[in-house]
């Protein structure tokens, strides 16, 4: 069975130099570690005035590869709905990724976010929510909103309209909100935030099962092998590891035309 990385990034990160950036570096890392392909977003789109320009860059970067295009959207910008339709038509996007911490808006009681979720539900496209990109203790130039400040947990309690993948959510955050996550059929989460505690993955899976967990590295910001080792060298059953590395991503993305 193969492996998918649902959280990889191309582009420039403004706060430090990345020694392994770009699609070739990602492909090489994935090949070394047996990962078949990834779901890639462009970090440039987070910071561009017009994120759609970053999507054109990303489409050109991914052309001719097996990598799937994750579109970055800031729903507080006008005409984001049209941008999504353009990206669907031109770039065959597999998901939309948002950064409420960086773009400074709340997820709950926000008509723009509701509109975004309604559109994605209609299109059968999942919403990837980037809970954080760096450890908060290291954000010393720019301080994004924390999950509490952007209303993540209130948003989850309301049962999202569309499928949602939480990226870089931490172990304790998951354990503290497992009720909302487990009671919903639409919420998944990735592995890139599971850095706390020895045997933390086993603990998480014993509490929350393995049907909601999808391998994501947030490479090249984070070490890919760090989180891959947590999964592959755990004492989880082989079927559970296969779910995390492959099956759950297939279930999340399953819609006509994506896979």
């Amino acid at each position: 069975m193969g492996k998918i990385d649902c959280n990889c990034l191309v582009g420039h990160w403004p706060f430090r130099m990345l020694r392994e950036s770009g699609i070739d570096a990602i492909k090489a890392k994935h090949k070394e570690t047996g990962i078949s392909y990834g779901l890639a977003a462009n970090m440039n789109s987070i910071f561009y005035n017009d994120p759609l320009e970053g999507e054109a860059e990303l489409a050109a970067t991914l052309k001719g590869t097996d990598y799937l295009h994750v579109m970055t959207v800031n729903p507080m910008l006008p005409s984001f709905e049209e941008d999504i339709q353009i990206a669907i038509d031109k770039y065959n996007i597999c998901a939309v990724r948002i950064y409420p911490g960086y773009h400074q808006y709340r997820l709950d009681n926000n008509e723009h976010v509701e509109r975004l979720c309604t559109i994605l539900q209609g299109k059968g496209i999942p919403l990837f929510i980037s809970v954080r990109l760096e450890d908060e203790r290291l954000n010393y130039i720019f301080k994004p909103l924390t999950p509490e400040e952007f209303g993540l947990y209130e948003f989850l309690k309301q049962e999202p309209l569309c499928k949602v993948l939480l990226l870089t959510i931490r172990l304790n955050e998951l354990l503290n909100h497992q009720e909302e996550i487990l009671s919903s059929k639409k919420i998944w989460h990735d592995t890139s935030g599971l850095k706390d505690k020895p045997f933390g993955l086993e603990l998480l899976c014993s509490k929350m099962g393995t049907s909601k967990l999808i391998y994501g590295s947030q490479y090249p910001l984070f070490s890919l092998r760090a989180t891959l080792y947590l999964v592959e060298r755990s004492k989880l059953e082989e079927s559970a590891i296969n779910n995390i590395l492959w099956n759950n991503a297939q279930n999340l993305l399953r819609r006509s035309g994506t896979l």
């Binding site: 392994e20 850095k195 505690k197 020895p198 070490s223 760090a226 947590l230």
Partner: protein, 244 residues
Amino acid sequence: MIIDTHAHIWKDQYEQSGDVLIKSADRYNIDRIYVSGLGVLVPDNDEVKELNDNVAKLMKRDNRIYGYCYINPKLDDAEKELSRGIEELGMSGMKLWVSTFCDDPCVFPVIEKCIHYDVPVLIHAFHKAIGQLPNETLGENVANLALRYPEARIMMAHLGANSYRELKPIRKCKNVWTDYSGTLFRRDELDHAKETLGADRLLFGTDMDLASFLLKLGQLDDSHFTSEEREMVLYKNALTVFKS
């Protein structure tokens, strides 16, 4: 061979913390784990003594466990407790946390004692954008101490957290090594640390039971280190620091 130079057991969690360390050593073939006991941020004499006794108990339980003598240098008994830790409990070094900045003059006597005993000192150092503690040591504090005591062997913990800021002050201090323990695992940190300090000054550490051995091994394996440099980080540099 693998030597973890940075791990903890926590006050009132002796059994759980100790079990995690030993389970990790068994599962991942860790040859040595250097452990200190921690509790409140600024402990009194009784707590320091209890924490060190717990580490000594764990050392007796498993011969892969080596001990740091944890010290609050502000306490009158600090030198006496350090002597007890090294001479009676058989500990291998001293651990400083956040009782005081490491270049505060109250630290000097215990550093001199470490020099006398020929043992290294592990110093917590952590630059935070949020939640910086009042006496939390930074790279410049470590550098001040290291320059005052060039004969001391000093380990700065966690790459100082914000390694891009904290490693530069210690670059000139050849008696300072640094571990990359903890839950930070940015892809480029170790390459940057090697370029700044050299592979011979980097130490493997986990910060168990807060972080996982696998996280730190994966981070090392993702970095651009030769197999010789990888061995230096995993154990050879630790053998130099601990002189055994």
